[in-house]
Structure formats: C-alpha cells, structure tokens
C-alpha cells in the first residue's frame, strides 16, 4: 500500500481549489450582485494562500503526488510573487468592474483558478503536472481576455489568444510526447538522470517544441505576436493581470524546466535561448516606438522585459537565475504601478488608452505624473530606480559568464527602449495639458504609493530581495 500523498506540501493549492468552488457557490446563491463580495473573498483567499506558502517555506524541499509536485525555495519565491501580483491586479480589477458596472462575479473566480494553475506550473515536477497547470491557467485566461463580451476588440483578443494558445499547447504536447518517447519518462528528476547519460536527438527536438510553447506563454519573440493584439483588445485590468502573474509563472516554469531535467542539454538549448532573448529585446524595444496606445506599448514593453529576464536563463547558472528572480520582483512593482495609473486614466468616467491623453499630466495631477515618470525611468533602466538594478543583475551575470555580446545587445536595446519610455515622460511634462483626469480610486492610489516607494527606494535597502532571490536560485541547483 503506497502511503498517502503528503498533502501539506500542496496546502495552498488545495485551499485555492476548494475556495474557488466555494466562491462559485457563493456567487450563484448570493442574492443581488456578488461581484464585490466574491472579489474581495478571492483576494483574501490569495492572501491566505500566500501565508500558507510562506509557512511552508521553513520546511525542506520535498516532492509529493508521486514526484509530480515539488516545493522548494524557488517555488516559494515564485508563488509569493504570483499570488501578490494576482491579488494586486484583482484589486485593481474590482475597481474597474465597479466603474464599468460589469456585474459578473465569475471574473474573480476565473482569476483565482488561473492563479491556481500558475501555482501548479511553478511547482510542476513532471511534464504531466506541468501541462495540467499550464492549461488550467490558459483556459481561465482565454475566458477573461474576452470577458467584455459586447466589445468586438475584447472578443477578438480572446479568440486570437485562444487559437494561438492552442497552437502553442499543441506544439508543447508534441514535444513532450517526443521527449517521453525517447527517454521513457516524464518525471523531471528521472529525465535529468537519463539525459545525463544519453542525449537522444529526439529529446532535443522535443525540447525545442516545449521551448516554443513556453516561449509563447512568456510572450518571447518570435512567439510574441499575440501579445500586442491581446493586450490592446483585452479589458485593461485583464491586460494588467496578463502582464504580471502569468509572466512570472511562465518564466519560473521555464527556468525550472531548462535548469532541471534538461540541464545537461544546455549546450543544445543555450543558443536557441540566446536567439529568443535577443529577438525579444529587439522586438520589445523597436516595436514599441511607433505605438500610440499605451496598452500596446506595455505589451511591447513586457516582451522586452521578458527578453532581459531570459538573459539570466541563457546564462543558465545560479547567478543568472538569481538575476531573473530579482528582475521579476522589480518588474512586478514597476508594472503594477504603471497599470494602476493606466487604470486611472479616466475623464468623466470614460476610460482612455492613448499616450497623447497623458499630455500635460504634470500640470493637472503632478503626483500621478511624478509616479508614472518614476516607473518609466525605472523601466528604461535609469539609476537609481529599481529597474536599473534588475537589468544590472542579469547583465552582470552574462558578463561573468563571458557572454559579452548578450550584455552589449541588452544595453543597446535598453537605450532604444529608453526612447519610448522617456517619450511618455516628455508628453506628460512638456506637452500642453488636456482635460484633467478623474480622481483615482483609493486602492489605485495605495498601490501606486507602495509601488512608487519600492521603485524609488529599492536602492536604499536591496539586501532582503537579494538574499531571498539568492536562496531561491540556490535551491534550484541543489541537485
């Protein structure tokens, strides 16, 4: 008789799964509009899950569900980020739902399930669990992308995302089947053992397909094409959500897959990864230049940021992974802040998306303009903002690994990228003001403040993040 799976390791996920079902029930049986109630309950669930994740952090790494599920410092770090990003974007969403008078509690439940999928991805220790987590996340995201059913753009975005996501999933499944066929296992640890002895060509081809699927999820070039259209078409809070939590989960998964089971194949995938990273940086920086819509701009921005984060993966060692983790944490703060402002771009209740709508913001609402300027400077990687350090750690890891070209290209594309980030600052500070925006909601202002303070003052006290990321990266290379 096999022993029962150690459920305590998966406590946060179990909680969220159960809570999702309960919230669904509450939503259905609640008289009147349950959107607000379910929404805040979902936030609460995420917070509790976060606490559980942190509580589990003390115990040693372990696997459960017959080795399909793993918990280690890396997973804890990524999960906390995912939960935090999800919760924050859900809070932003709730305000938006209220403002747009969309009374659908399913939104929060979908976000909850998507987050659950992400946690599964982060903890995946088997190709099967990887796929289940990924699909759970994706299916939920397809729906939220087209959540504004009466909007053509929103439905188009959802459909595009769904079709292309399916293609990516198909490719990934195909790759997994090849890997299984050539190695005889789907478990990461076993795969690592097998591949350390024998590296079949079929496995590598399969790995390329898996990489394509994962690259799609992180919206890395050349699998990025969906991003601008979906970001622009999806409702703004959904865009914010897309830009944050799924990216973190996908990158975390990417890192775990590449440095875990396929660590010995680094010679094979490193160059492919190099191209993906470089292409992403180039597309992210050049593509954004011509954009007039700020959500589209953020899409290219996120493509670029993923490119920078992937530098750490190309390097493929502990230092690189540490760089990625720091980068992602800073990325979350910069983006949540920027989206808090984008979601506050309203005139007389009407939401705006054009960059030109920001004209003269420094005169109409100076604090908001200052905050956005901080985020833009940070994203451009200008010291002393936090964004500079994010880039610094990944670049330095590339330099230490002797990959000078990667670092040089990264720096050059940051320069190009600085152009469009600074253009926003220029529009806000030097262009003639238009009508003033409505006063942002309290939640937006609080999030803005927290994100702004972090971005501006990270330089003062960087060591907690630094050390945590280091420990997390170390756990990944323990075996």
């Amino acid at each position: 008789m096999t022993s029962l799976a150690n459920l305590s390791l998966a406590a946060p996920e179990l909680l969220m799964a159960a809570a999702g079902l309960v919230l669904l029930m509450i939503g259905v049986y609640q008289k009147g509009d349950a959107t607000r109630l379910v929404g805040w309950l979902a936030v609460l669930v995420m917070v509790v899950a976060g606490v559980l994740v942190l509580k589990g952090a003390g115990t040693d790494a372990g696997t459960t569900f017959k080795g399909m599920f793993v918990t280690d410092a890396f997973a804890v770090y990524a999960k906390v980020m995912v939960l935090g990003a999800s919760a924050l974007s859900l809070i932003l969403s709730l305000g938006w739902l209220a403002q747009e008078e969309i009374k659908k509690f399913e939104y929060s439940v979908l976000v909850l399930f998507a987050t659950l999928g992400m946690l599964m991805m982060v903890s995946a220790n088997d190709l099967m669990s990887l796929y289940i987590g990924l699909e759970l996340q994706s299916l939920a995201l397809y729906v939220v992308a087209s959540f504004k059913r009466d909007s053509v753009k929103s439905t188009e975005a959802g459909l595009k995302y769904f079709v292309l996501g399916s293609v990516a999933s198909g490719m990934m499944l195909y790759g997994m089947s090849m890997i299984y066929g050539f190695s005889g296992t789907t478990n990461f640890e076993v795969l690592a053992e097998v591949l350390s002895e024998h590296q079949a060509t079929g496995v590598v081809v399969g790995l390329v397909f898996v990489m394509a699927g994962l690259a799609f999820k992180v919206s890395a070039a050349p699998f990025h094409m969906w991003t601008p259209d979906v970001y622009e078409g999806a409702p703004t809070p959904v865009t914010a959500f897309f830009a944050l939590a799924p990216k973190i989960a996908a990158i975390a998964l990417f890192v775990r897959v590449m440095t875990g089971p396929f660590a010995d194949l680094i010679g094979a995938w490193q160059q492919v990864m190099w191209i993906i990273a470089v292409l992403s940086m180039i597309v992210g920086s050049f593509g954004a230049i011509g954009q007039q819509n700020i959500k589209r701009l953020m899409a290219y921005s996120s493509i670029g940021h993923m490119g920078y984060a992937l530098i750490g993966l190309v390097v493929g060692n502990e230092e690189g992974v540490q760089g990625i983790l720091i980068y992602l944490a800073i990325y979350v703060f910069m983006n949540i802040g920027a989206f808090a402002i984008i979601l506050s771009m309203r005139q007389k209740g009407r939401a705006l998306e054009g960059i030109s709508d920001l004209a003269g913001l420094s005169k109409t609402s100076p604090l908001m303009a200052a905050a956005l300027a901080i985020f833009m400077f940070s994203m451009a990687g200008i010291p002393p903002m936090a964004g500079f350090f994010g880039k610094f750690y990944v670049f330095i890891s590339a330099v230490h690994a002797g990959m000078y070209w990667l670092a040089v290209i990264g720096v050059l594309t940051s320069v190009v990228g600085a152009y469009y980030y600074l253009r926003i600052v220029k529009v806000m500070y030097f262009d003639e003001p238009t009508e003033a925006f409505d006063t942002p909601r309290l939640a937006n202002r609080v999030i803005l403040l927290v994100a702004g303070v972090f971005t501006l003052f990270y330089i003062v006290y960087p060591s907690p993040l630094l050390l945590t990321a280091q420990a997390a990266a170390k756990s990944l290379f323990a075996y």
């Binding site: 293609v167 590598v204 390329v208 191209i275 050049f286 593509g287 011509g290």
Partner: protein
C-alpha cells in the same frame, strides 16, 4: 615681508573684485592702489637686502605637487634678477594704478578694471619669483589671462574682443612651446626646480636625444622650445602679431602690460634660464637672429604707422628684439638692464600718449593732431624725455642700455653678433626717426583736428601727471644709476649667482676691453641723424614724406601693412583652420558622426520600428505561421549545428 610683497596685490584684487558693489569706485581704487604701493615699498626693501646686500633667499610656502618623481612646492625665490623685476613691476604698476584714477575716471566699471590690474600685478610677481618652472608657468598663464581680460576690457567693442582673442590664441602657440620645454626639462633632468636644473646642467652638456629618428642636442632642443614660449609672450618676429592689436585695451593697460612688464617676461625667463642657455650655443644663435630681425623689422613698420599707440607698440616690439639679441650673445645682464630702463621710458611714453589721447578727446591718429604743444606743456616735455631715452641720446636712460647692447653684439665677434650689430644700428636710426616723427606730428605744425577738439585740448589732471613725472625720473636717471651695477664694474657682485655666463662667452667683458671708439659713437651718430631726418621730413619740408611714399609706393604699402604678416597668417593658418574646421564640422561631424551616429541611428531605429510594426498585421494565420516558422527554424538550427 617678502610674502606680503607678492600677495598684497592678489588680496586687493579679490577684495576689489568681489566686493566692488560695496566698495564703490573710490574704495576699489584705494584698496588696489594702496596694496600695490605697499608692495612697491616692500620691493624696494627687498631690492636693498637681496641685490645690494647680496642675500638671495628662497621661501617655501607649501607643498604643491608630489607625484612620483615630480616634486614641487609653492616657493618664492628672491635673487638679484627677481629683485630687479620686482622693482620694475611694482613701481610701474603703482604708477599705472594711480594714473588709472584719472584716465578711467569716466568708465562705468572702475572696480573691475582696478581688480584686473592688481590681479595682473600679482601674476607677474608670481612669474618673477617662481622657484620652479611649473610655478613660473602658472604666473605666465596668469598674466596671459589678465592680459586677455584687460585687452577685452571694453567688451562691447567687437575689435577689442577680437584683439583679446588674438592675443590669447597667438600666445597659446608660444605657451605650447614653453610647456613642451618644461616637459623636456623634466624628461632630461627629472626635476623642474630651477636650482636642481642649474646644478645638473653641466652633466648633460653633451647629452642628445633621438627625436623623429634624428639625434638632437638635448639642451638646444630645450632652449629652443623655451624660447618659443618667450617669443609668444615677448612678441618676437612671427608671434608678434598680437601686440599691435592689443592696443585696443585701455592705455594704462598698454603701458603696464604691453610695454613695461608682461612682454618682457620672455626676456626674464630666458635670462633666468641663463645657466642652461650657456650650454646651448645653437639656441643662443637662433635667439640672436630672431631678436635682431625683430628689432629691425618692427622699426621699419614703426616708421609709417599713424596710430600713436601702434607706433609705440612697434617700438616696444623692436626694443624687445634688442633685449633678445643681447641675450643671444650671452649679455643677459645687458638685456635685463635694457628691460629695466625700457620699462620706465616706455611706460612713460604710453602714459604720455594716453595723456595726449585724453587731451584730444580720444583721438589716436597722429595725422589728426598737431600744434598742441603749448596747450599741454607737461605732457609735451615728458614725451620729449621719453623719446630721448628711447632713441638712446646721452645721458638719458636708453643711451646706457642700448649702447651696451650694441657694443656687446659687436664684441661677441661672431657672425650672428655682427648681423645683430648691423641691424641694431640701422634700427637705432629708425627708432630715432619714428620717435621724432611721432613727436613732431603730434605736437607741432598746424592743428589738423577740428575746432571742437582743439577747444577742448587740456592738460591732464595731476593724478595722471604725477605718475608721468615719477617715470620721467626713471627715464632720466635709471641708466646712469644702474650702469655700474648691471653691466659695469660692480656687475659680478651685484648679480651674484642669479645669472651665469661662461667665461669665454662673456661678451660684456669683451665689450669693456676691446671695443673700438667708433662702435661706441656710431649709435649716437645714427640716432642724431635719424632725429635730424625727421625734422627735415616733417618740420621743414612736409612734402617729402608724401612724395617719397608715392615714389616708393610698394615699399610704403609693404611697411604700412606690417609686412603682410596678418594677411599671411590669415591665409596660411586662419583660413586653413577654418576650412579644416568647416570640413570636420560638415563632413566629419555633420555627415559622418551625426549621420551615422545619432541621426543615422535614430533613422535606422524608426525604420526598424516601422518594419516590426508592419509584421504585426493583426491576422491570426500570420501569427500562427510565424510561430511555426520559428520552431522550424530552431529545430533546423539545432540539426545543422549538431551535424556541423
């Protein structure tokens, strides 16, 4: 006391400069003039102790640079040479400070002017008291700066700005030579301290350095480079073009900086380096030739100029040439002697000219003067005395020093010495000629100014005349008093170790021993003839110069246009530099750097951005296709890579 003498003018300059609104005109005048007078009084004491008492000393103020082998301090070196320069600088400066009270009376920024003057004085004192070459360079550049500020003092005038820039730029050429010379000194001797250098010169007498594949005598190279610096500051042939233009500055500035002190810095520096030059005979020969040529060349131009200040400026240039060829024949003492007497009578002439200009309502063209000697008798008298001194008529100051210079040139008994002697004598004749041309045209004959100006001709106030009288005393007696000390019997005890002359080079000694009588008399005869000629030309038969100018039109034009030096430089340097600059600007910077650099990159960025944007068609199947192609490309890459 020694330190105070040097730093009082700096203190005054700072006070007058920074607190000018608080002090007002009179306050600034009192502070600066007081400080310089105090400095002059202290200098007299220093001169007495150091030169006459024979107690040279060095005062170390503080460590300045300590970098590897390069060790130097801010230190003040007082020996006879320094003491002489101190007297010259502080006394002339005092006169000029006082004179400025009257001359600059109507100006609206008097404190600024006084502050600049005091700053200049301080820098000049730094230069002459330097105990190492770097510190000397500091003073050297400092006086250059002050000169720039004062030439361009009336900065509303474009011509003043142009002249200031010209002076600065031309001096850069010389300073570059000086800086290279200092580098070469450090390279060879491993030190820039004067005493260290002089102590080790004999060891390096025969050393050569290889440069551009050719072996050069090291000391000659150094001597030549340092002399280039001296040429710039002292307006010697080739680098003289800035000096006449510098007359754009206020006249007291011309008197102080561009006649008496700064322009003689080159003479001082080369004399200071005499122990080194004594071992570089080739460099000395070059100095002789350049100096003699300058003396002759500037005199020829002086004969035809019509601006009262420019005539005196060319005369200054010419007299500096005399000093240099004296140095060239190892008669440093004679050079410094002439430097000293010249400072007095040339400052006198300039301040007198200023007095004339003042009287003539700011008119500077001597063709528009004349017939005013009765109206301004004191100015007239002092100008006479100044010109007598300049022409070298016995017993005025110039006679002693200039005659000595011509004698030593003859006594040097060398080819270049004879060249210098011949040109020098001819120059002396011309000096007398243009001096009296100036005198006669300015003061005698029929008035050529309009009635309004003539009615306003007036003698200058006493605050301007007093300095003139003080300088007159110098012009009268400086030569007679100084002769024995500087170049006469007492010279060895007087100079001590300040100036070194090798025994077989001692041309002053030769001059005393074996100069034929006609050599002593010739300059005087030539000068008197020059004066007589001027009288014939401009007093008795005023038609001759015009006829002569018509008859010798090319020569006249050649001289009037100052040997076409400015035009030559304009073509050779200014236009080429401008064309080169334009080429670099439009071709290099505009087309190449901007085009390929910022503009090109920006254009390429926009272009790439457009292409990337175009890829984003919005079509689902395009996107899916891109993904498939991507995977296919990666797999192919991997396969090819693995096969390869």
């Amino acid at each position: 006391m020694y330190v105070a003498a040097i730093f009082l003018p700096l203190l005054a300059a700072m006070v007058a400069g920074f607190f000018r609104h608080w002090l007002g005109d009179r306050g600034a005048q009192l502070v600066t003039t007081g400080a310089v007078f105090a400095s002059a009084a202290l200098s007299a004491v220093i001169f007495y102790q150091v030169a006459i008492g024979g107690q040279p000393q060095t005062i170390e103020l503080l460590k300045w640079i300590s970098s590897g082998d390069l060790q130097l301090s801010w230190a003040l070196k007082f020996d006879t040479l320094t003491a002489v320069m101190l007297i010259v600088v502080t006394w002339v400066s005092s006169c000029v400070h006082l004179y400025s009270w009257g001359y600059m009376h109507h100006d609206k920024s008097v404190p600024r002017f006084m502050a600049y003057l005091s700053l200049f004085t301080f820098m000049m004192l730094m230069l002459v008291t330097a105990d190492n070459l770097i510190q000397m360079f500091f003073g050297w550049e400092g006086v250059g700066l002050a000169s720039y500020l004062l030439i361009g003092f009336w900065y509303e005038k474009p011509s003043a700005n142009a002249a200031a820039i010209k002076a600065f730029v031309v001096n850069r050429v010389g300073d570059f030579g000086f800086a290279l010379g200092i580098c070469a000194v450090f390279f060879l001797f491993g030190s820039v301290n004067l005493d260290d250098i002089f102590a080790s010169v004999p060891q390096f007498a025969e050393t050569s350095v290889v440069f551009f594949g050719i072996e050069w005598h090291a000391l000659t190279i150094i001597g030549f480079l340092l002399f280039i610096g001296a040429m710039g500051k002292s307006a010697q042939l080739g680098l003289h073009t800035w000096l006449p233009d510098a007359m754009e500055g206020p006249t007291p500035v011309s008197a102080l900086i561009h006649a008496a002190t700064m322009v003689t810095a080159g003479v001082f520096m080369v004399s200071r380096m005499s122990p080194l030059y004594e071992y570089a005979p080739t460099a000395l020969a070059i100095i002789t030739v350049v100096g003699a040529t300058t003396a002759f060349f500037a005199a020829t131009i002086g004969c035809v100029q019509n601006d009262i200040k420019r005539v005196i400026a060319y005369s200054t240039c010419s007299q500096l040439g005399y000093m240099f060829f004296a140095i060239g024949v190892s008669a440093y003492q004679a050079a410094v002697f002439h430097l000293m007497t010249h400072a007095f009578f040339k400052a006198l002439l300039f301040l007198g000219a200023g007095s004339v200009i003042h009287a003539m309502s700011d008119e500077q063209d001597i063709r528009k003067m004349g017939g005013i000697w009765k109206a301004i008798p004191i100015t007239y008298t002092v100008m006479w005395i100044g010109n007598l001194a300049l022409a070298g008529i016995f017993p005025f100051a110039g006679y002693f020093s200039k005659d000595t210079i011509l004698e030593v040139a003859y006594a040097a008994n060398s080819g270049v010495g004879m060249y210098a002697f011949v040109l020098g004598v001819m120059g002396a004749g011309m000096t007398a000629f243009y001096s009296w041309r100036l005198l006669i045209m300015t003061f005698h004959g029929k008035p050529r100014a309009d009635e309004y100006v003539m009615n306003h001709v007036h003698e200058s106030p006493w605050v301007m005349l007093t300095p003139l009288l003080v300088l007159t005393v110098g012009a009268l007696f400086a030569g007679w008093v100084g002769y024995d000390w500087f170049v006469g019997e007492l010279r060895e005890t007087f100079w001590g170790h300040a100036i070194a002359v090798l025994e077989h080079n001692d041309s002053i000694h030769h001059a005393h021993e074996h100069t034929p009588g006609w050599v002593k008399l010739l300059p005087l005869v030539v000068s008197v003839s020059g004066i007589a000629l001027a009288y014939v030309f401009y007093m008795f038969f005023p038609g001759i110069p015009a006829a002569l100018a018509r008859w010798l039109r090319p020569v006249h034009l050649f001289l009037l246009n100052k040997w076409y030096f400015d035009e030559l430089y304009d073509i050779v340097f200014v236009r080429t530099a401008r064309a080169l600059g334009r080429g670099f600007w439009q071709g290099g910077d505009g087309a190449l750097i901007d085009g390929v650099g910022p503009d090109g990159v920006a254009a390429a960025t926009r272009d790439i951005a457009r292409r990337v944007g175009r890829l984003q068609s919005g079509m689902l199947y395009h996107y899916a296709f891109a993904m498939i192609i991507g995977v296919a490309a990666f797999v192919t890459w991997y396969m090819v890579h693995k096969a390869g």
